[in-house]
């Protein structure tokens, strides 16, 4: 089918693939088959067993190796004459700068996180190189084409914010299993095994009642020579018994809610565990420590009873203290840490049981706690095919025929693959247009550090920011700064806006620039005295920067990343506890990030097209693309 023109455009092209995972493997194969001869691949990841069901360029023997290198090796076996250059590296490294990007005719993304996508978007804009962006979750997928000035950039549309839960839902009034998981993972697990200096809201409720905060401080302390099961039972009784009793004492809370049931270990497990499982020590002398391995709980799909969960809870705690004592104090939850998953599953289930919430299997709990993406090979293959089709159009400069395509699970007007005309650039996009942002801030109280952390890094996604007022530099990050400058910048971080060497007050315009991304934007500063601690926990409000609300409908958002984005039902997505005072407890005005968030869901699927799908006699309107467009907003 390929015309001469097309064949030579493909042969000449130098393409950059970012990501050699689920989409990447399929993409590399299809590029090679299609005649591409000069392919560069960047991927920082190494291969895991759970990749092998779809990342077909990898074998069991590759586990632990670089994805970029292993995929290159496999493809060269069947296309030995083409040139593939792998980089086992993070795309955010400084060597992949604008000059590097300029070498390519097109950049193809098969990424799994928002951060890297934004970074590549900015570099493509700065280098003026077309970008074909993609993502899949389960059966859903999408491909979009981004050309500077012609189509919208990756950041023209708001991205949904990470799902947040009010802290009181997590600490006091859980109603869904996810709430119990968040509690078990981010509060209890963190309290017992994580950094002791971290703030922890585990006892927010019980601290209402005078002396209990003192009591709770002792409870979590492991006393030397204490029997480990006794310690475990004390924790158990405190968090599942005592804390629930305390919560129950607040009548107001339960007026319109089902009351939880306090659970004590002696009621569930009257017999001392060590007497029953005296021989467990030798079972797990080596290798990965796991409770399931010797509690004869073989199937991770099974839902354990309350007694089983309680046994797993106590055993897991015991194993942490007996086998992994050195880790305690610096553990964070990791989905690949079997013992941590077992502990969190058990704790979440016991809590769920207390609150009358259905229990879940370890397999399910692991997926929720670890934000594990749903992924199948077929969707990735389809999406990779569509990426190559768009890439070829880009090379042929077939400007009028670019499409963004959705791969759907259920047909919409008979379409399983739905192409839509790309949208024009958003004129108020702070990334691809020059529109300034504005920041409302209390210039007397807010420090430059808050601005750098919460706004420049947190919201604008910059890695190496330079902050300037006119010609004077207030702050800069870089590898080759003079020592005295580093000291000045460090001092500036602790100063309030108005106290900075060149005072930043209402009306000041700051320029924020990322030298690596070659991206800069202006921010107009507006002083504001007061901020709402609940609604504006940052103590500053950035305007002109849009973040989509968390989706409310049942449409699964289309993830932009095969390997770590996820397609769990929307309430089970990446999670952040948004602290809000939900009653009488005091809260700090602080947002806590609770998980490695990969919130890169784009909600671009035209949603309303399903409505009149009934009758095939009804003709597809030729104008359905514009219909989709209207529906999108």
């Amino acid at each position: 089918m390929a015309s001469e023109e097309q064949i030579s455009a493909i042969k000449r092209a130098k393409v950059l693939m970012v990501g050699a995972g689920g989409i990447g493997c399929e993409l590399l194969k299809t590029l090679a088959l299609s005649g591409f001869q000069d392919i560069h691949i960047i991927d920082m990841d190494t291969i895991e067993v759970s990749n092998l069901n779809r990342q077909f360029l990898f074998r069991q023997s590759h586990v632990g190796q670089s994805k970029a290198k292993a995929s290159t090796f496999t493809i060269l076996r069947f296309r030995p004459k083409i040139s593939i250059t792998p980089y086992h590296a993070n795309v955010k490294e400084s060597r992949f700068n604008v000059d590097f990007f300029k070498e390519f005719d097109v950049v193809l993304n098969g990424l799994d996180n928002l951060d890297a996508r934004r970074h590549v978007n900015r570099l493509c804009l700065a280098a003026d190189v077309p970008l074909v962006e993609s993502g899949t979750t389960g059966f859903l997928g999408q491909v979009t084409v981004h050309l500077k000035g012609k189509t919208e950039c990756y950041e023209c549309q708001p991205k949904p914010a990470p799902k947040t839960y009010p802290v009181c839902t997590i600490t006091s009034t859980p109603s869904k299993f996810i709430h119990c998981i968040v509690w078990a993972k981010d509060l209890l697990f963190a309290k017992l095994f994580g950094d002791k200096n971290q703030e922890n809201d585990l006892n927010v409720r019980s601290s209402d009642t005078g002396n209990s905060s003192e009591h709770s401080a002792d409870v979590f302390e492991y006393r030397k020579d204490e029997d480990i099961e006794q310690y475990g039972r004390r924790i158990y009784d405190h968090v599942f018994g005592h804390n629930i009793e305390v919560a129950l004492s607040n009548e107001e809370t339960w007026k319109n809610r089902n009351k939880p049931r306090p659970i004590y270990s002696k009621d569930v497990l009257p017999v001392k565990m060590t007497e029953k499982n005296g021989d467990t020590e030798k079972d797990c002398a080596t290798g990965d420590v796991s409770v399931m391995a010797f509690l004869s709980l073989k199937n991770p799909q099974d839902i354990w009873s309350l007694a089983e969960n309680s046994r797993v809870f106590l055993e897991a705690l015991r194993l942490f203290f007996s086998k992994r004592l050195k880790d305690i104090g610096n553990l964070t939850f990791d989905k690949d840490d079997q013992l941590a998953v077992e502990f969190v599953t058990a704790a979440a289930n016991i809590r769920a049981s207390s609150f009358g919430i259905p229990l879940h299997s370890l397999f399910e709990a692991k997926g929720i706690a670890g934000n594990i993406v749903h992924a199948v090979a077929t969707t990735n293959a389809i999406i990779a095919g569509l990426i190559v089709i768009e890439a070829i159009k880009v090379l042929k400069k077939d400007n009028n025929n670019y499409r963004m395509t959705y791969c759907l699970e259920h047909p919409s007007r008979k379409l399983l693959l739905m192409p839509v005309e790309p949208y024009e650039p958003n004129k108020s996009c702070y990334v691809c247009s020059e529109t300034p942002l504005s920041l409302e801030v209390n210039t007397h109280h807010s420090k430059l550090r808050d601005f750098v952390e919460k706004i420049v890094k947190g919201k604008l996604g910059m890695n190496f920011p330079v902050i300037m007022q006119g010609a004077s530099i207030l702050y800069e990050v870089g590898e080759d700064l003079e020592e005295d400058m580093v000291a000045i910048y460090a001092a500036n971080l602790e100063k309030a806006f108005s106290e900075l060497p060149s005072s930043v007050i209402s009306g000041t315009v700051l320029t924020v620039e990322d030298l690596q991304q070659e991206f800069s934007c202006s921010i107009n500063i507006k002083h504001r005295e007061e901020f709402d601690e609940e609604k504006e926990p940052d103590g500053m409000v950035l305007c002109g920067w849009v973040e989509a609300p968390v989706d409310k409908d049942n449409n699964k958002p289309i993830g932009n990343g095969e390997s770590t984005s996820n397609a769990l039902p929307s309430e089970e997505k990446d999670v952040e506890i948004q602290e809000m005072s939900g009653g009488t407890e005091t809260v700090t005005g602080k947002k806590r990030k609770l998980s490695e968030v990969d919130e890169s869901k784009k909600q671009k699927k035209p949603e309303k097209l399903d409505v009149d799908d009934e009758d095939d006699e009804l003709v597809i309107s030729d104008d359905w693309e514009s219909l989709a467009k209207k529906n999108r907003v």
């Binding site: 089918m1 090679a32 088959l33 759970s50 069901n53 779809r54 199937n299 594990i372 077929t378």
Partner: protein, 322 residues
């Protein structure tokens, strides 16, 4: 289905997809047996997908010798070594597929599929036919339908930027969850022969032009006694003549089957790899759905054209005469 649990190894390997379709579906997949006939690029894509998904076995049929042109869209065939060993296409593909997933049994069956009796097909849960004549498609479809057991039957073909899938699940029952309740669904599929016998006039007005285009080319090859894909632009006058006849018989306007489309289909004798990936992906998904009983299967044609980028489902059945 119950009683046999997935092994630890299976749970670890298939973790991400079990999260999509569940452990039950995975168990059903691991007990299923698939037959594929015609090992070109699209079928290679399909095979990769179902081998990765973890079906029980895949049986490959294609006795053609490996040639240079076979390499073009088929990533299962490694250059050099296979050519020198004089393997068949099926044999060459078999070796690569085994590597993708050691838990799947991949084997080769030789011989003329037309001469195989129904008992041969009875061993399979799904049969996928590609790159063969109209007569062969009809024949194998009939053999599968004769069996009391339901065998999911598919044909798949890609011509240049276009691809087509036909699905026959006979009488297919499945349940799906809608909100809180589970609904029992039933779909009646026509055979390939009956489906394509549907008068064009009776089809929905905006049915994909690709459907007509594929039928014209298919018939042309049948009449001329060509193998599938054995056409060139030189055949255009003959194809246009056939189009005229078919359109007259069916009393539809010839504009339903545009010249440009027929030209593209005639020239498109080699596969276009991105289209193979798309069609092979959709087909893989459909076979997985039919075996696992999860999800709405498509009924009964799927078309993809890289020119407009649409991936379209068409329900083409002969109207019932009661």
């Amino acid at each position: 289905m119950n009683g046999e649990e997935l092994t630890e190894q299976e749970t670890a390997l298939y973790d991400r997809q079990i999260r999509v379709w569940g452990a039950d579906a995975q168990r059903r997949l691991s007990k299923s047996h698939i037959l594929v006939y015609g090992m070109k690029g699209t079928v290679a894509e399909f095979c990769k997908n179902i081998v990765l998904a973890g079906v029980g076995s895949v049986t490959l049929m294609d006795d053609h010798a490996v040639t240079d042109s076979a390499l073009s869209a088929n990533f299962l065939i490694l250059p050099d070594e296979n050519l020198s060993h004089g393997k068949t296409l099926a044999e060459a593909c078999c070796d690569s597929l085994k590597e993708f997933n050691p838990m799947v049994h991949v084997s080769v069956e030789k011989g003329d599929i037309s001469t195989f009796g129904v008992e041969f097909f009875e061993k399979f849960d799904a049969v996928v036919i590609s790159c063969c004549s109209l007569a062969k498609k009809k024949l194998i479809n009939q053999k599968c339908r004769k069996l009391p057991k339901r065998i999911s039957f598919y044909t798949v073909d890609c011509r240049g930027s276009c691809g087509e899938i036909f699905v026959d699940l006979k009488n297919y029952k499945y349940s799906k969850k809608k909100l809180e309740e589970t609904i029992e669904c039933q779909l009646e599929y026509p055979s390939f022969e009956d489906a394509i016998a549907a008068p064009w006039k009776a089809l929905p007005k905006r049915v994909s032009k690709l459907y007509f285009g594929m039928r014209v080319i298919e018939q042309f090859e049948d009449i001329e006694g060509r193998n599938a894909g054995q056409t060139s632009i030189a055949d255009l006058p003959g194809v246009l003549k056939l189009r005229k006849e078919l359109c007259e018989t069916n009393s539809v306007n010839e504009s339903q089957v545009p010249d440009a489309l027929l030209e593209r289909l005639l020239i498109g004798t080699s596969e276009f790899p991105p289209v193979c990936a798309v069609i092979g992906g959709i087909l893989g998904q459909e076979v997985i759905k039919a075996i696992s009983g999860k999800g709405d299967p498509l009924k009964n044609f799927f078309f993809f054209d890289a020119m407009d980028g649409k991936g379209l489902i068409e329900d083409i059945s002969k109207p019932r005469h009661s």
